[in-house]
Symmetry: C2
Subunit: 389 residues, 2 copies
């Protein structure tokens, strides 16, 4: 707990230096700035740095004097360890953390190179991101309600506390994990879905235009993250190679079982073969192997899917939803919003869902939890049909 | 074009018999009822039939006398052909269509068994659905703006026209395709994503609770359709076995390349191997094979993803979007909606996007294309900051 470069008690409210003004770094800087924290910015790209500054994320490090209390390394993951080591040396009283998606690789290198100063290093991984990258896509709300993994192994407990507070300051929920445990977890919930999304999307490169015109929400959802940055993700996957390889091998075993089943439906005598065989009957009796293979996989997939936390598999919410039926006519939404404004409640988010009958819509108004009940009562008094969920 | 059971000119406005009151059948019945069409319902399950009737989808076939002009078979796909053949015989003047997700299998069996009456059969496939099933999840809006594939091969042109009108009546866009062309297309845009979503979700069955607590939107999107009905999907995949098997084999080849690359990062000497090796440097120089494998796949996936039509990969829209910056303060959305109401424009859909700075939000107002420009000008005159896209 001591040593020349050991951690000092620090406040999260001191200046925070964010190194790397990409999506995560800029979003974090914006969130901290909104929370009243002084933010310093550093980036090897002057363009990215200027953009982040112009967005109000903070001031370039070179233009300020105050020593940072916390340094957040938000560089690409393959250079994170190197930057952490340099920042530990440059700011001998600061707690240094990184936000790389892989934790064991960074921690091992930092401990090997930074010696005692490594006690001021705490790994972290905010579970937030989007398929777009760069400061221009930054959003101060990115961390709100999201888990933020804090890896305190080998660090001073006070340093770990500082990083937990940092997470809390931007609305995230700190989650304590070991580096190896974290890496195995993200292989399953993040890295594998990313790679498999790309595997599906890669099939679309040569699909016909008329096929693509039939694309629905299912394909869009499965392939959304396939639009992510190949350079960033190559580094992440390589940095977490063993857990990812293990899952890919398991997936290949399931794929082989599935493929054998589906091929049975094509080639087995008496099966509802394709193309050609016209003497077909009920497919479920003719190709039991195929039906079983698909059905087994989907049943297991359904069970796995059901384990994802959150209502209807949706993201955890900070807000309460107030639901109101609105007639589908000119001005009705306007009256609703005017009434909400008169009640004095701020609308944090809003969605309009169309009902089955089409003559009415369901307005879903997100408000702070403390305001929800009062709003429901006030709208009810004004004659709105509030849906109690 | 003639024959004992040849098609007669029919109007889509005549009674429509919907056989099968699951998600698709009930949604269609609700949509037709809203459009003023008389709908008759039939289902082997009395419970499902009652539910659909109680939802206002139509009246049970047994309680009405009028002969249907159109019969829509909305049963599970593995019994669709059999039901189509029986309906062609039961209603010798009706056009019969089905909504099964696989078209060649049904068409081949109908032509083999129904002889001349098959000229009154037109295959169709509305590209609409959701991961929930049953009448209770039905939505009359399900087909709005969606493609509806019409397979007219072997049918009287007048019968094909009737089915095209049916699609139009519920807001869908008819798309003419051959049965084989359709089946190859849906293998890529629907069946493969479904199976791969299940392959990813199946990995979650044995994941730790702490891993699942880290799940983000990426995992939720990739696995959303894994919650679909295994029985329904087994029949669909078996019915389209050859195109699906072909795509699964291609995907396995890419998976093998990827796995080889990722394993190289684990085992190659000097690579950022895992676990153990502490002498790491820049991963991108140490395991070029792994980086290349991931990067190549993701680049191809990104190109494939970009081919999906629709702005930002979103669903093709019937409406134009008007985007307005709104201050994040009480009442500002109310003023916006009041102004839109005064202009006399109906809001078809609405979304609120938060900007990076949080002090302002982006209101995305969907209106009929004919109203968009006028609304933009009117809002600009009233002092709103309209974002021109």
């Amino acid at each position: 707990m001591s040593g020349e470069h050991g951690a000092q008690p620090v406040s999260t409210k001191g200046p925070v230096l964010v190194v790397g003004t990409g999506l995560l770094g800029t979003s974090l800087a914006l969130a901290l700035t909104s929370a009243g924290v002084e933010v310093q910015l550093e980036d090897s790209s002057p363009t990215s740095l200027s953009l982040a500054r112009d967005m109000g994320a903070g001031r370039p490090r070179l233009e300020v004097d105050a020593e940072p209390r916390i340094v957040v390394v938000a560089t690409p993951p393959d250079v994170a360890a190197d930057v952490v080591v340099r920042q530990l040396a440059a700011h001998p009283r600061a707690v240094v953390t990184d936000v790389a998606s892989v934790k064991e690789q960074v921690a091992t290198e930092v401990r090997a190179r930074a010696d005692q100063a490594a006690r001021r290093y705490v790994g972290s991984h905010p579970m937030a991101g989007r398929e777009r990258s760069g400061a221009g896509s930054a959003d101060s709300d990115l961390f709100a309600g999201r888990p933020w993994v804090v890896v305190g192994e080998g660090a001073d407990p006070s340093a770990e506390l500082v990083v937990r507070s940092l997470a809390t300051d931007v609305g995230a929920t700190p989650v304590r994990m070991g580096a190896a445990e974290h890496d195995v977890a993200v292989a399953a919930v993040s890295h594998l879905p990313q790679l498999v999304s790309s595997l599906v999307a890669a099939r679309l490169e040569k699909a016909s235009d008329s096929a693509l015109a039939l694309a629905g929400q299912g394909l869009r959802d499965v392939t959304r993250v396939a639009a992510s940055d190949p350079r960033l993700w190559s580094a992440i996957i390589v940095g977490n190679a063993a857990p990812v390889a293990g899952l890919l091998r398991e997936l290949r075993e399931d794929l082989d079982l599935l493929l054998r089943g589906v091929e049975a439906a094509v080639f087995e005598p008496g099966s509802p073969g394709y193309p050609g065989d016209t003497g077909r009957g009920d497919a479920s009796t003719l190709a039991p192997g195929a039906v079983g293979a698909v059905s087994d996989l989907m049943t297991r997939g359904g069970r796995g899917r059901a384990r994802i936390p959150g209502k209807h598999g949706g993201a955890p919410r900070r807000y309460r939803e107030v639901q109101v039926l609105v007639p589908d006519s000119v001005g009705s939404l306007g009256r609703l919003f005017a009434d909400i404004g008169e009640v004095g409640v701020n609308i944090e988010d809003f969605a309009l869902e169309h009902s089955a009958g089409q003559s009415v819509g369901l307005a879903v108004v997100s408000v702070l939890p403390s305001a929800a009940q009062g709003l429901e009562e006030a709208l009810d008094q004004r004659g709105w049909r509030v849906v109690v969920t």
